[in-house]
Symmetry: C2
Subunit: 578 residues, 2 copies
């Protein structure tokens, strides 16, 4: 296997398992037949980075860690990792019996629960691809996504059956629906095979013989909920999932460990619940699965009952708890990670003052697996500066590289001032979209995120806007998000969305679209004056419109393209100041 002497440097690398000579500075496989370039052999083992390896670790070393599922607000069931893994084995055997083969897509249309975790393990480890369908998509988006991914089997939670039934006729690739728990499945199309999850599992024994997978094989996929065009599919590999799970266990990632119990509020269909299930499985952290009980009351009750040390959620859920259950005892929570949209400073402050609980911001997207930046306090942060730091988007996580670029693709300095579009690179960042390359979204191999930010010298990212929403006024950029957040801190304002509208002199100027709170009143002049000492003068909107509601996307984000269209079509009544 080894030749003696220096010649051995020209042989294969041991940890690649490759029989071909490999060039030192060439990427693997690009030049399979090129002349050998000297490279010293590493002696490391060639062990692929797979979810299967994580699965083996969790089921064995953390056999007694637990998955808790909220079956009803007052009823929580639990199973050990050993039990969950055994059932995942049975599910893998069951899906195989249904004709699922390596590379096939298996959709899940499910809440966060134990069966969904079993699917997270069984499907990728058997070599198939876990496709978590977003239960909140509009029917036409859901149809597009499930059809585009060519899901062969869909696992379906009973309470969600009516939602899937609406589109099932339009999914010719789907052969089988595996139904989970009680539900009204009568509306499901009879051309599909329908089988109960527990029945399927009961037909097989634990001990599935998982294949040895290439670490670059597809493991899971998620579609983005783009506000323009069709959703786009991101396909995670075993390698990216493994690396992301390691990163989520680092202190500067999410710090997930065997002493944690994670209340998983963020849905499993949102970027794999931010990658937390696999990290928790590898670390032996308990997971509490809240299913559909996501309102303030049940969430507060679940926290009091299960005492999680950690949670991950979007701001709206946390805000709900703060508003409606300020009496709750959340003191078990040592780490709450919040992302998905900008986290209002008032929410961070409110959690601190009301519950004594710290919220840490994190940033990422479906395309980034999603962990890219987390707002851990740097060493030596003065207590009076803590809130300012926590209000930033986050600090770049080791393993991803991040830069900001101007409109011409030139990299901008990390001075906390320059604003550019975030571009990102790394082993768990997407480099294309499934069957939809979309080269405009990439720049020299880096993903263009569409988020505009500045970066501080210590790698703290501060997102100011979406690239398509930023207002370009006289060659400078105005952050629509900053204006909105400032406006929404006015007591009379329920919602505010600011869009750029054409302006002869400045190219674009901001138009503030405001929804007043019930029974509240405020004039555009009053709101303008309110803003005057809070933002720089040239940001102040001259144009105002009072509207009944800000249009929203299927995942609840402000849909500014609708507002822009309404303005273009003359549907907004615009008041002009001064």
């Amino acid at each position: 296997m080894h030749r003696a002497g220096r010649d051995a440097g020209f042989q294969k690398t041991s940890d690649s398992g490759a029989a071909l000579p490999v060039a030192l500075i060439a990427r693997r496989g690009k030049t399979p037949c090129m002349t050998a370039v000297p490279m010293l052999e590493s002696t490391m083992q060639d062990v692929p980075l797979t979810i299967t390896a994580l699965m083996r670790h969790g089921r064995r070393v953390h056999a007694n860690a637990r998955i808790l599922t909220v079956d009803a607000p007052d009823s929580i069931s639990e199973a050990t990792f050993a039990e969950v893994a055994d059932r995942a084995d049975q599910l893998a055997a069951g899906l195989t019996s249904l004709g699922v083969e390596p590379g096939d897509r298996v959709g899940t249309f499910m809440w966060n629960n134990q069966r969904h975790m079993e699917a997270y393990l069984a499907i990728p480890c058997m070599g198939a691809v876990l496709h978590t369908l977003n239960i909140r998509l509009f029917p036409e988006q859901l149809t597009y996504v499930a059809d585009h991914a060519q899901d062969k089997v869909i696992l379906l939670d009973g309470s969600l059956a009516p939602l899937l039934a609406r589109v099932i006729d339009q999914l010719p690739h789907v052969e089988t629906i595996v139904t989970c728990g009680d539900g009204d499945y009568s509306a499901l199309n009879s051309t599909k095979q329908v089988i109960d999850y527990e029945e399927l599992v009961a037909r097989h024994q634990p001990g599935f013989d998982y294949p040895e997978l290439d670490e670059r094989a597809a493991a899971a996929m998620c579609y983005t909920s783009g506000t323009t065009g069709n959703p786009k599919g991101v396909v995670y590999s075993h390698r990216s999932s493994y690396l992301h799970a390691l990163a989520a266990q680092t202190v500067q990632g999410l710090g997930i460990s065997h002493t944690d119990r994670i209340l998983l509020i963020v849905p499993q269909f949102h970027a794999n619940a931010w990658g937390m299930p696999y990290a928790a499985w590898a670390a032996g952290a308990d997971i509490v699965m809240p299913q559909q009980f996501l309102q303030a009351g049940p969430i507060a009750d679940i926290i009091e009952a299960t005492k999680p040390t950690m949670s991950g959620a979007v701001p709206t859920v946390l805000n709900d708890v703060l508003t409606n259950r300020p009496d709750a005892d959340l003191s078990s929570l040592q780490f709450v990670v919040c992302g998905g949209s900008a986290v209002p400073r008032a929410l961070i402050e409110g959690f601190r003052d009301t519950f004594g609980v710290t919220i840490t911001q994190a940033w990422g997207m479906t395309e980034t697996s999603p962990l890219a930046a987390v707002g851990h306090l740097p060493r030596g942060t003065a207590p009076q500066d803590e809130l300012d730091v926590r209000a930033k988007t986050g600090r770049i996580v080791a393993g991803v590289e991040l830069r900001i670029c101007d409109d011409h693709g030139n990299e901008l300095p990390w001075d906390g001032e320059a604003q550019g579009e975030i571009e990102i690179r790394g082993p768990w960042i997407t480099g294309s979209y499934h069957l939809d390359p979309d080269p405009e979204k990439f720049h020299d191999g880096w993903l263009r995120t569409g988020d505009v930010a500045s970066i501080e010298p210590d790698g703290f990212v501060m997102i100011s806007d979406r690239a398509k929403d930023v207002i370009k006024s006289g060659g400078e950029w105005i952050s629509s998000v900053d204006l909105e957040n400032t406006l929404m801190s006015h007591p009379a304002v329920l919602e505010a969305a600011v869009i750029g509208v054409p302006d002869e002199r400045w190219d674009e100027r901001p138009l503030a679209c405001v929804v007043l709170a019930d029974n509240a009143t405020a004039t555009s002049g009053e709101l303008h004056a309110f803003l005057a000492d809070k933002v720089v003068k040239w940001w102040l909107p001259e144009r105002w419109a009072f509207i009944d509601e800000v249009p929203k996307t299927s995942v609840g984000k402000f849909d500014k393209k609708v507002l822009r269209a309404r303005h273009r079509d003359g549907e907004l009544r615009v008041e002009a100041l001064g």
Copy 2:
């Protein structure tokens, strides 16, 4: 690039960059020309896992983290990561000017200090291989190792010049010595080019153009200090180093983070200082480099002066501090990881009671990069059980797989009882030795560690002996280490080494070789009685020998092969009891 429809599943994986069809369950490269097997494309970027990526992250995001070097007990210099990275660039350019090419080995014969960290960065990132030479090797071993690795250049600390000078004539491959700091270099052979580190660095500018490396390229190498045969070389890849650095940042690894300051007592030539330098660099943790000031007094002073949050050291150093500086204020230390040999329970207890500092055991070896098991307390450990848990070897770290096997290679259960040789597998575990395959050390691709242990159901490993030292008596195994530790808890015993000697009836029986403390007396009968209520009856040695000293290896471990040879040659005076 993508074909529409299902066919696309048969194309290359995006994150491999491979132009070849890749089989789902075939290892990459093994079957480069085989028929395509369906595999869904992942859309992930093909970003190699390299030390270069970690270097970029640390120098940029953690530009202001610091390397502190103890230049004299009362003088500590420091440099920021940004400064260290710039100097590493200059070193890379300097080594290039000396003719170092990708794949070439560059040795370091150095203490832990800033220049050694610069070498850690420059050498692998320029594509060369960092070979950390153990300064404590016997001359013949040092010669063997540097010659076997074919080091082309050696970086040499001034105070170590006389040690290298003794062997330099026998290292024909070495072309250049780069001298670091003041020292007596007069004895270095004049046939070698000798150049001062600072002079070399000063000739070049920061901003070296690092090549894009294959992640499986060799990055660093370390030789084991085997007690039998020649030392064996372990060659780490960029991939293994990167993964290990991530693992060391996980909470259940070493938990290294940006809030840490690490006093690096374990030498940089011992398994890359347990991988801590790269983890610290990626995390932005300060590192305190103690150079040769490793005695109890200076170590205590350094801790008081620099207030590290973390340290890593072998038991002897910690024991020295406990014995000689019980007055020291070590309260800044939140995490002390200890390994390299079994950690006495008394040391853990002593640190807790004297300093209020917790010692956590970790286990690994040069072959395992080395992180394999760490003794973090499981969730819910009762306070009265803490010490028992801390006295165990450690719990298996996510990313490595571990099993125990009997003499016939059969896997044994994890019941805390069955004793077998530890075998280990993972992406940072060696799969062979440099130019010295040694297939006996491997079993189905797993590394045979030579350590005998039991494993508890929760993945806690308890090492009882080295495989070659375990005593096989009547088909059962007796742990020589357990007998030694128990004997050494007798006040009259300074050292004890127990070896297996041939026995007609039982195959082997233990022979206890005891070194009495100065002015202490104890008979074999007294020691036998002392053991009687502490170990099971059939373990009790009938054979005793009182010796002046236990022979030791170059790194200070008991050298039992010498004792066994002395016994064989009739050089030990053996007393037989009952």
